[in-house]
């Protein structure tokens, strides 16, 4: 695996500069059922296609941001800071 990610603060960098936070997994807004809690904690969609995910610029500015990446090709379509996300 080797590709370039664009940190919204620092610009394009090798993927090895970053830490991966996994696909977006929103926290339940209200008290979840046991099943919902289990799914939130332990299940992921793991799509073959475009996925919205968290990344952190670990060896750089330290910012957490969103990326949209095609998991089949590692093509990164978009990166953005959470505050800039619609």
């Amino acid at each position: 695996m080797s590709y370039v990610l664009t940190c919204p603060n620092c610009g394009p960098r090798e993927v090895t500069d970053f830490g991966f936070g996994g696909e977006l997994n929103p926290r339940p807004r209200s008290t979840p059922s046991q099943r919902e809690l289990g799914e939130y904690n332990y299940f992921r969609r793991n799509v073959a296609g475009v996925q919205r995910e968290w990344w952190v610029h670990r060896s750089g500015c330290g910012a957490w941001f969103y990326a949209e990446r095609d998991t089949r090709t590692n093509e990164v379509l978009l990166t953005e800071l959470p505050e800039d996300a619609a």
């Binding site: 695996m1 080797s2 590709y3 370039v4 394009p12 090798e14 830490g19 936070g21 926290r27 339940p28 008290t31 979840p32 046991q34 809690l37 939130y40 904690n41 332990y42 968290w54 952190v56 670990r58 330290g62 910012a63 957490w64 941001f65 590692n74 800071l81 959470p82 505050e83």
Partner: protein, 956 residues
């Protein structure tokens, strides 16, 4: 000597001679020679012994593509003699022959081995009797493999570096097409890197009459600003990253567009004896002549399928080699070079090829004839010491395939040609079917311009030119092929016919593998190991596919090719490993620990003082007088902002928004699954600021955890990681108060500075944050200051404590002291399954908090359902210290838990520890059995701290 008179453009410098040794004999060479050219000039014809049959092998490609000249150079095995430059004094020895290259006893396998060494012979021959396998293994291991690696290499004697290079365009291959592509792209303004595996760019131009043109193209590329990497083979294509190996550097080149101008590999022909020393590819023979002025033979026969071989025959004739006969597989037509050969009275056999090569110890003669003729009809036997073969070419598509290109069989040209090139990649020159010099240059210029255009460079004119060029290339490509396609094997005669030189796989072996059911090319590859040797399929892929098609009665298109995998070029492992790198973190006070004679050990990434030689005495000093420990490794965060309290309330199961300024509170961090991930103390510095410490190993992860949730929640908070910026020491013991009082204006009395206070004050003239906490169980002051002052603070405290019995103590005594207090170590006493209820800390979870917090839902469930296991203390009945991980069981029961920590405590006069046990056993006085490496030991459960259970000492 076979050195020719001085030639125009030769690579050697005859004014400078070098000398090196080969198998102990001194060999002289010129500057610019390769090991191969120098040895050949000195009369050496056998360069190696083959992998399995130990057959003699000589120079064949002279371009680093075949396995025939692998030698050991100094300590490095597997070096290609034909491309490795001679260095003064280098020690070259042969590989895979014993006792010598000329007399190799293992070559007996060539005579008797055939029937006994088919594919998979290890498994077929050495399987019975089973009990003899250890003996077989010993024999096989010594027989297998090439070269010798030094077993002990105390230190790396050479360094390697990675270099990351981002470019607009990378061009792989520096032949006519590659140079043109690089120049074209760079002239339009692109930042271009060109990687070429040879010592000078030019590719085929260098040995095939285009030296001047190569110089011009190289100069043009240089002037356009191309970064030229020489002696730099590309190793593979990984998601757009191309590693290029150049000496001690691995360039990791990432380019927005990549032009592959990797050329084509001249193919050998398949006939019995096709591996004899003296059988050379036409390109190899020409390189010897043109680059090194070495005569490849005295009397030669040439077998060709296209004009390339005929051109070579003419060039060899010019160099003074007698051409006994030229066999051209094409049945008719008189091409330009054929006419020239006839004019010079060279015998030309049309529709013929080589049926067999003969010789002992080297080539002595060949038999030429029509491949389809009945036995003996029209054959000619000719004596010669050189057979030049040119079996057509195979486009070098491996790197392109690795980046997603596809190939298909081109029946007319007899090769696997590109059918699809992925976006972002371009193919130019011979690999793209543009093999003639003019079209190779044009194809390069077009690809280079298109790559630059794709990135927004160029203008209207450059676009028009590129489009014109494309049309011309398409027209050229539409012309009929000028080559004949050789049959898989040109003779049914006796003798070994090698499909794969690296692994000694014969045509018969492929036949056998199909007969045994390995009838797909991928299976046959794995069974026979064809294409898996050092040449990576350069010499054997196409022949293997041809043989496979013949054996299975299918077409080459149906057989297809094997998957191309990296590395495309052999590379030392050390280059891939990069520079030996073992990062270590050291506290700013580390030098003092060394001076004090500390035993320094790894603790995660940190180098820490384990003890100062007397862990028991150090622990006792903390109880009886005072001790000082460096705790700079703690993670340290400043959490600041109007929402800082809110953030901490959401991140910890307990409350921090109500923590008073100047007070300290312990906190445990849990995940949303309710599992403990870290712990530490939090001090409120002012209304908006908190000082958070984490475990030493968790520092980085907790900083990321905090910032992650902050990014998600968008609270008005700033988090600063000050772990590296601050040093910290813990001064603890009954005399700690007296000691610190001498260094600070702060009121340190029991009433003025109470337990869990956090105050800012000068200590020894240095601004500090002092936390009154007690990890080790005695009155303690954790003092944090700027790293730059760490040593000063440490020295001042030790000086001040000299008269009070103060001693520095290390990690080991600290572990004992905290165990006496049952203070847990995250990761030691807890694991990824532990929750605060099981870890006997239900008080830390504040479910009555109004807002949500991480872990709340899971912890609510744990609160309702009592945990099945509990973390408890235990005291051993005797003095045995159980191993960490020893099994706990109820008396005469089955295993139910495990020991996490255990130490002998001189202070308490016994062995104590902590363990996970079934909840039902978590009561004081409960007897349990600990099974430790077969020994059954008795212990008693203790649920309150062993030392100072009520905390009176700590709070005093």
């Amino acid at each position: 000597m076979s050195r020719l008179p001085e030639r125009e453009g030769e690579r050697i410098d005859r004014s400078r001679t070098l000398s090196f040794s080969f198998d102990g004999n001194e060999v002289s060479a010129y500057e610019g020679d390769t090991i191969g050219s120098a040895l050949f000039a000195a009369g050496q014809r056998t360069f190696s012994r083959s992998f399995k049959y130990h057959r003699r092998r000589g120079l064949m490609c002279c371009a680093g593509q075949c396995p025939n000249c692998l030698v050991q150079v100094d300590d490095a095995p597997g070096v290609r003699a034909c491309t490795e430059p001679v260095r003064e004094g280098m020690k070259v020895v042969h590989m895979n022959a014993s006792p010598s290259l000329e007399l190799d006893l293992m070559s007996a396998t060539d005579v008797v081995g055939g029937p006994f060494t088919p594919p998979g012979f290890y498994y077929k021959t050495f399987i019975r009797p089973r009990r003899l396998w250890p003996l077989y293994e010993k024999v096989l291991r010594s027989a297998a493999g090439l070269g010798r690696l030094r077993k002990s290499q105390p230190e790396r004697e050479w360094r390697t570096e990675y270099r990351r290079r981002h470019a607009d365009v990378l061009v792989v291959g520096g032949g006519a097409a590659g140079l043109s592509a690089a120049a074209a792209a760079a002239e339009l303004g692109a930042d271009v890197v060109l990687a070429d595996e040879g010592p000078e760019p030019g590719g085929r131009l260098l040995a095939e009459g285009g030296r001047e043109r190569a110089r011009e193209l190289t100069e043009r590329a240089r002037l356009a600003g191309v970064e030229l990497l020489e002696n730099a083979p590309a190793l593979g294509a990984f998601d757009g990253l191309v590693p290029v190996w150049q000496g001690d550097t691995l360039h990791q080149v990432r380019a927005a567009r990549i032009v592959y101008a990797t050329g084509a590999i001249e193919q050998p022909l398949l006939f019995p004896g096709n591996d004899l020393p003296g059988v050379m590819l036409s390109g190899g023979a020409l390189r010897l002549v043109e680059l090194y002025a070495v005569k490849p033979g005295t009397r030669a026969v040439v077998a060709a399928v296209c004009d390339r071989g005929l051109d070579a025959a003419l060039a060899l004739l010019d160099a003074g080699v007698e051409i006994a006969c030229v066999a051209d597989l094409r049945p008719g037509g008189a091409s330009g070079p054929a006419k020239l050969l006839l004019r010079r009275n060279v015998a030309l056999m049309r529709g013929a090829t080589v049926l067999e090569a003969r010789g002992r110890g080297g080539l002595q003669g060949v038999v030429l004839g029509r491949p389809d003729a009945a036995d003996g009809e029209g054959e000619r036997a000719i004596g010669c010491d050189l057979l030049v073969v040119s079996g057509g070419s195979a486009p070098a598509t491996s790197l392109l395939s690795q980046s997603g290109a596809r190939t298909g069989y081109d029946t007319e040209r007899g090769q696997f040609a590109l059918t699809h090139v992925p976006s972002g990649a371009f193919a130019a020159g011979e690999v793209a079917g543009a093999g003639e010099l003019a079209s190779a240059e044009l194809s390069g210029a077009v690809a280079g311009a298109e790559a630059a255009h794709a990135l927004g460079f160029g203008d209207e004119l450059s676009h028009t030119r590129a489009e014109e060029g494309r049309r011309t290339l398409a027209r050229d490509h539409g012309r009929p092929a000028q080559a004949a396609v050789p049959p898989p094997v040109t003779s049914r005669r006796k003798g070994k016919c090698f499909a794969c030189l690296c692994e000694d796989v014969t045509a018969k072996d492929i036949h056998l593998s199909v007969k045994e059911g390995y009838d797909s090319i991928e299976l046959s590859k794995r069974y026979t190991t064809t294409t898996m040797g050092p040449c990576q399929g350069r010499m054997c892929q196409l022949p293997a596919v041809r043989l496979m098609a013949q054996e299975t009665g299918t077409t080459l298109a149906e057989v297809g090719t094997t998957t191309a995998r990296p590395p495309w070029h052999a590379v030392p492992m050390g280059v891939l490993a990069g520079r030996p790198f073992e990062p270590a973190k050291r506290s700013s006070i580390h030098g003092r620990h060394r001076e004090l004679g500390a035993n320094v050990l790894w603790a995660g990434d940190w180098r820490r003082a384990y003890d100062y030689g007397d862990p028991r005495g150090e622990a006792l000093a903390v109880h009886e007088a005072a001790g000082l420990i460096d705790v700079s490794t703690l993670g340290k965060l400043i959490v600041r902002g109007p929402d800082a309290g809110e953030l901490l309330d959401r991140l910890y199961p307990n409350r921090f928004s109500n923590l008073k300024v100047g007070r300290v509170r312990y906190g445990v961090i849990a995940s949303d699954a309710g599992r403990i991930t870290d712990d530490g103390t939090i001090c409120r510095l002012d209304d908006d600021s908190f000082y958070v410490t984490t475990t030493s190993s968790g520092a980085g992860a907790i900083y990321e955890w905090f910032t992650w949730w902050l990014a998600d929640w968008g609270l008005d908070v700033h988090i600063t990681d000050v772990t590296q910026g601050l040093s910290a020491v813990n001064l603890a013991g009954p005399r700690a108060r007296e000691i610190i009082s001498t260094l600070t204006p702060l009121d340190c009395s029991a009433e003025g500075f109470t337990y869990l206070d956090g105050k800012r004050a000068e200590v020894a003239g240095v601004p500090c944050l002092i936390l009154r906490i007690g990890f080790v169980g005695e009155v303690g002051y954790e003092i944090h200051c700027a790293s730059a002052h760490g040593e000063h603070l440490w020295d001042a405290l030790l000086d001040a404590g000299a008269g009070h019995g103060l001693r520095p103590f290390g990690l080991e005594p600290q572990r004992l002291l905290r165990l006496q207090k049952m203070h847990i170590l995250i990761g030691q006493d807890t694991d990824s399954e532990s929750n605060p209820f099981g870890a006997a800390m239900p008080w830390i979870v504040k479910l009555d908090k109004e807002q949500d917090f991480i872990g709340r839902w899971a912890l609510e469930r744990y609160a309702e359902e009592p945990p099945e296991t509990s973390l408890v203390g235990f005291r051993m009945a005797n003095g045995h210290v159980p191993t960490e991980g020893a099994v706990v069981m109820p008396v005469d029961g089955s295993p139910m838990g495990q020991v996490t920590s255990a130490r002998h405590s001189p202070q308490l006069g016994g062995v104590i520890g902590m363990a996970w046990v079934p909840a039902a056993l978590a009561k004081d006085g409960q007897r349990v059995t600990i099974s430790d490496e077969g020994k059954k030991l008795q212990a008693e459960v203790v649920t309150t701290p062993f030392y100072d259970p009520d905390g009176e000492v700590l709070r005093s």
